[in-house]
Subunit: 414 residues, 2 copies
């Protein structure tokens, strides 16, 4: 790393914090940010973050390509976003009702997202996907929801990847299809009969631990046609990809507009917010569904969202992230070739994944990531990564330099 | 109002914002903060907040007794909380993992709440109640959950007060009992048979639009004994009352300790956070349940929570709110007597409710609240209110002065 001292040993602060956490938090940490699921050497605790850089509690600096698993889209501590948040916080955040910024944000969302006639706000992606399904059921008076096998839609019993504590009834009305497989969707629609409320689909196929798949245009169009024919709602779960691929919703890239969409992650550059957007025919049903939370009218995340969406549009964030993602990808392709390593790169450039051919148990991916991490780049071996708008060519090049250590490690194992 | 000009007419900004919102948000606003559910004259949009005061977008100032329906426990924009949040925001908020403040907060919760051997964090009260139910099912391998008829536990299909979009299966394993009615709980336990996972109970009976009821000690003890006998989990939903009645959890007031408890609202003085605390026997099951969200490791709300809990302990927040709540109550009793109006005051002093005797359709309560609002005090006619630590004797006295207009309005109607 040319311009920063890069300590290769830790001071043991991370290990000490993990040990204390193990006493008071089951398994040390809940959910997707638990570092126990990462190759050894990855930190669990962070001291600070700025732009596309992270510093762990032991003082190690990383060029980061996870962006907090999505929320950071303009870069950490973006001055415009933080200034908007600070100004709103001075006035008020969590009050007996919203601030005027709610109307500003709702108008922005409806004005930016072509399918949207209205919106609701929430806190978690799961709040938004759950509200979509519930509104679709309320609007159709039907129960069955089609879900792609293996897709992630949240962390509550109806959709959680774990079945611990889940009852059969929690998923009684789900029918499964395979992503990008029209025949499987048609079979699922037939199975639903006259009880089809919705087809739920992620913006692209981004299941963990397998190659990513963009939606085929024919597949997307067939979902639209099947919903239209059945009078069911097409729901795009854009929680993970929203505002990274297209400001109008990720399925603008395939020319198909949903009836409902769920957003969260990137909407406010790390401030806690989620949104549902919907079509006119579901407006009235949306008023009947009771969906709320203690902090859902909080004005600070809304102010952050307005600033984030405005800046993303101003700089054409999706195009910028795409360009940097393509630079990373090209560099990886060249690096892999240089080291005689076979890789498979998938997904949109803004949310890339690199898998190693024949990599049973992710032995090679883990070795690549561990070596790159030790050289200052934070990648993920099994989950799609996330570019953000703070990544510059120089950051990507620095990460590619670190990747070289990763490819060398894989070549040694191969 | 002695020291602030109190405009009695509005500038129409609130009405204009509502009209714009109606275009882009179903029904104008989702959930519990929708002012359409309040007597006429209540504002929907707020310009700012400080301590126990709120200013609406038309410049009207209110002494507030809803405290954002619970989250504001130290007062809006509390300097210690906001300074802690600002310092953490300068370092980092939403990163690839938590900051050290997570461990600090988790240790605080486990150290403060006697029943807690561990904790999890989340964003919404509903996240916490849902996780409690799921963990109880995972820990017992059973499905039935006992819930008090009419109790509010969140806004998703398994517990929402609306049935729009809800399927029968969402609630297939709930069995209902009546709050404070031991025989009804025993009957529900018998109905659950060997499939009893948990008894879920709110800290006190705080159902909307009826008198509040504190838990009888005998009732609380019987729930504990029934769970112990069945090997089921006792879950206290302390989302609404937690940290207002007792820093160790609200059922410390009746000497009964749950196996799981859900917290949110007051935990971070308005910053979005929720928590589950649990007993040792549920630690391992909690690791199996997948519960997570994009912002759940956000360090800023955690820093706000540490500051909030420390300050609440330092000043004995529950005792302070109780004293001011009792002052309000005594003043209301005197005011009602003076005007020859019969009232019924219920609930803990920190979360009071005043109903008018024989008040069919809340005609009298609405008239009281509308007149008090016009005189500068923000009350609620049907939902428990919330004191916060910013209320001084002078604030309460000012609100009582405004209440006088309310009692006069009721006397005119009576």
């Amino acid at each position: 790393m040319p311009d920063s001292a890069y300590p290769v040993t830790t001071t043991g602060r991370d290990a000490a914090l993990r040990e204390r956490a193990r006493q008071v938090i089951p398994g040390g940490l809940w959910g997707h940010l638990n570092a126990a699921n990462l190759p050894s050497g990855y930190p669990q605790y962070y001291a600070r973050a700025k732009g596309c850089r992270l510093w762990d509690v032991d003082g190690r600096e990383f060029v980061d390509f996870m962006s907090s698993w999505g929320p950071i889209v303009l870069g950490h501590h973006h001055p415009l976003v933080e200034e908007a948040a600070r100004r709103q916080a001075e006035l008020g955040d969590c009050m007996n009702g919203p601030g005027p910024v709610l109307v500003e944000l709702a108008e922005r969302l409806v004005g930016t997202i072509p399918h949207a006639d209205w919106c609701l706000l929430a806190k978690n992606g799961t709040d938004a996907t759950t509200a979509c399904v519930t509104i679709a059921r309320a609007g159709t008076g039907r129960r069955k929801v089609l879900v792609a096998r293996g897709s992630y839609h949240g962390a509550v019993p109806w959709c959680s990847p774990s079945i611990a504590g889940v009852t059969a009834e929690d998923r009684a009305h789900l029918i499964f299809y395979d992503y990008n497989d029209i025949a499987s969707v048609e079979a699922a629609v037939a199975k639903a009969g006259d009880d089809l409320a919705a087809i739920l689909v992620t913006a692209f196929r981004h299941d963990m631990a397998r190659a990513l798949e963009l939606p085929d245009v024919a597949f997307a169009r067939s979902l639209r046609a099947l919903c239209d024919h059945a009078g069911a709602a097409l729901i795009v779960d854009d929680v993970r990809a929203g505002f990274r691929l297209d400001m109008g919703g990720s399925w603008e890239t395939v020319g198909v507009r949903p009836d409902l969409a769920a957003y969260s992650k990137a909407i406010a550059n790390g401030h806690p917010l989620a949104a549902v957007t919907g079509a006119e025919w579901l407006r009235q049903p949306a008023t009947k569904v009771y969906t709320t939370g203690s902090f859902w009218c909080g004005a600070v995340p809304m102010a952050a969202a307005v600033a984030t969406l405005d800046e993303l549009r101003r700089i054409d964030g999706p195009a910028r992230m795409k360009a940097m993602g393509e630079r990373l990808r090209a560099g990886w392709a060249a690096g892999a070739a240089r080291h005689g390593v076979a890789v498979r790169q998938t997904g949109p450039a803004q949310m890339p994944l690199m898998l190693f051919e024949g990599d049973v148990g992710f032995r090679l991916g883990d070795a690549f990531c561990a070596a790159a991490l030790a050289a200052g780049a934070y990648f993920h071996p099994r989950h799609n990564m996330f570019l953000n708008c703070a990544h510059t060519e120089s950051d990507v090049d620095r990460a590619l330099q670190a990747s070289d250590a990763g490819f060398a490690a894989v070549a040694r194992l191969g």
